[in-house]
């Protein structure tokens, strides 16, 4: 019985190889015939949370990516690029097998993501081994660009631009007297808090919480007791929403400031509108709702009238970098990597000129940081935070 099964399986495998090979040959001959025309049926991966605590952040990025690919496929109906989704749930523990899956699928020639810093630490080395180029629209931990991963590119500024800008906003715009800082001990949250502390100098107090923590009574007691008028939270929206809800419940009157990990509509649905009102959220990106060209109207038309969320526009632009490469005949991972490294053009939605340094960081002159504010239950742009 078992032998029979093995024989059937190997039969299937062989026929898959034969047909797969035939298909590949066909695609190859096509590209040869057309000279510079693109290779077909290649895949671009999106790597990030589509379910789970932080799905709200990932879905907008996936939508931006999807929009770019759908538009490309409409123009190149005879030679499409497919979107492959890798739902990491934002969890570094789930990142390794997903990254392996993407790495071993030779049709995947580029990755938009990984969305978060923690999962990047796990997934990027795997991509690096197979020279699979990535551009992350949102993983902002500074050290990611110092690991020597040749495939790494960051389409936004990192926390060394976001953190100090948040610090400057607290110090110069809000003119806060006492600032309390809390982080969630994640790669991203702790890094951001470090940068904020450098600008602010002496803080009223600091504490750490845990991802998935739900009862914040001890840290709430400390913050209220410290008399802080501003809380900077380094972490993601679920914990931020719960912490703020419990703080306001304990009678705290101050303002929370947090980074791009909280900059999402889900923050308001966890905290509730009244609680979230007035919260300041930073982002090393321009408002996606004010993106250039037809991006906002196209996005709304494609996704049931949803407003584009944080990084949707960045994801759209960096996906287009890959698509442009594929269109110009860069069909292998190595060719596409070289194409991204040499890229130097402005994105259609963000207006940012995508030009990467040797480390994969975005050219610092192109990095801008915005402050957003929760107003009447919506995250609305406040000001672009001035450079120091």
């Amino acid at each position: 019985m078992r032998q029979k099964l093995a024989r059937v399986l190997s039969g299937v495998a062989i026929s898959a190889l034969v047909f797969g090979g035939a298909a590949a040959c066909k695609a190859d001959s096509g590209s040869e015939g057309g000279g510079s025309s693109a290779a077909c049926d290649l895949k671009l991966g999106f790597f990030g949370p589509l379910t789970g605590d932080a799905a709200g952040l990932g879905i907008h990025m996936r939508n931006g990516t999807k929009l770019a690919i759908d538009q490309y496929n409409k123009e190149n109906a005879d030679c499409k690029v497919n979107l492959e989704e890798y739902d990491s749930q934002g969890d570094p523990a789930k990142a390794a097998p997903l990254a392996q899956k993407a790495a071993s699928d030779t049709k995947v020639v580029g990755i938009v993501g990984p969305a978060f810093s923690g999962e990047s630490e796990v997934a990027d080395p795997i991509f690096n081994q197979v020279s699979l180029p990535i551009i992350t629209p949102s993983a902002t931990r500074p050290s990611l660009s110092t690991k020597g991963w040749k495939i790494f590119h960051r389409g936004v500024g990192n926390d060394t631009s976001q953190g100090p800008a948040a610090g400057r906003y607290i110090k110069n715009v809000m003119k806060a007297q006492k600032v309390y800082v809390v982080d969630d001990q994640s790669a991203y949250g702790a890094g951001l808090v470090d940068e904020v502390k450098k600008i602010i100098g002496t803080v009223a107090g600091e504490d750490k919480v845990q991802v998935k923590q739900t009862n914040f009574s001890a840290v709430v007691t400390k913050i209220v007791g410290s008399g802080a008028d501003v809380l900077f939270f380094g972490g993601y929206y679920t914990e931020a929403g719960l912490l703020l809800k419990q703080l306001k419940g304990a009678g705290w009157k101050g303002t929370m400031v947090a980074g791009d990990g909280v900059n999402d509509a889900n923050f308001i649905s966890v905290a509730g509108q009244q609680v979230a009102e007035g919260t300041i959220l930073t982002c090393p990106c321009a408002p996606a709702t004010a993106a250039k060209g037809t991006f906002v109207t196209d996005y709304k038309a494609a996704f049931e009238n949803a407003e584009p969320g944080t990084y949707a526009d960045v994801s759209y632009d960096i996906t287009k970098i890959f698509l442009e490469g594929i269109k110009s005949g860069k069909a292998s991972r190595e060719d596409l990597l070289a194409f991204v490294k040499a890229y130097n053009k402005a994105g259609g939605a963000t207006g940012v000129t995508y030009k990467f340094e040797g480390t994969g960081e975005l050219d610092p002159a192109q990095v801008l940081v915005w402050a957003f504010k929760v107003n009447a239950g919506k995250v609305v742009p406040d000001i672009e935070i001035p450079k120091a």
């Binding site: 009574s217 419940g249 509730g272 609680v275």
Partner: protein, 316 residues
Amino acid sequence: MNFDELVGNFPALTITGLEQGAIYALVALGYTLVYGVLRLINFAHSEVFMVGTFTALWTWEALGYNQNSPSPAFGPLLLALLAGLAVAAIASAATAVTVELVAYRPLRRRNAPPLAFLITAIGASFVLAESFGIGTARAPFGMPTLIKSETVFTVFGAGVTNVQLLILGVTLVMMVGLDQFVNRSRLGRGIRAVAQDADTAALMGVNKNRVILLVFVLGGIMAGVAALLWNVRYGYTKFNIGFLIGLKAFAAAVLGGIGNLRGALLGGLLLGVAENYAAGLFGGDWKDFTGFVLLVVLLMFRPTGLLGESLGRARA
């Protein structure tokens, strides 16, 4: 170490610790009751709590509240609380009974070894949590602030809020009620009899399976009450909310002496307070660490917990 933080906020840390501990205690009762009768650690109990938080939330949504609703007046508030309580208690009890009927009873009938029960319990827990995870897209859910938290009086400079009084009050009432039920009523005598010696109790005419079912119902109701209090206080749920609370509640039950109802209360309150002190002294990142170190150290000196394992022997 930050002694100023601990000493300065000592009263406030104590109060919020007691409030969290009360919820641990109510959930711990479910572990203790089942363990007392079956010598089984019902790991699916954390999911019984989770089901309670979701069903109470859905009840409120059906009554027209969402996370942005303002706090209602007293009349509608009472209705919302009681309706949420009833639905959560019934749903949690039904979940507990379902787990017993589907997962444990067939194993008992076949005289399965204890290890089979343990792995079945863990499996049941995963099935419940994951089915809610898939059903709710693993999203977090915010809830309306039904009771606006207001300081009623202050103790040593720390405000005690109406919500905290409600939580502690309800927990004490449920505890005393359950304790009296088990120790004084006819059905309670049945529970104690089966806990002491199931075979002899059966010879005396106690229907063992009915007693076991009753134990699951009682534990489920307590978890449902805990879920409602949780919703009122923390206003948030998610498919995996039960995991950490279940683990803490189980630790609380062991701390007080598993199988012992009063031990569950003591263990729950102690764990809640100790965690808060630790968070004050060492910082929030040491909170869980300290809770479990406390448990391990205590078990070294009192292996059966603070009050001993004695559902059956307490007042037999």
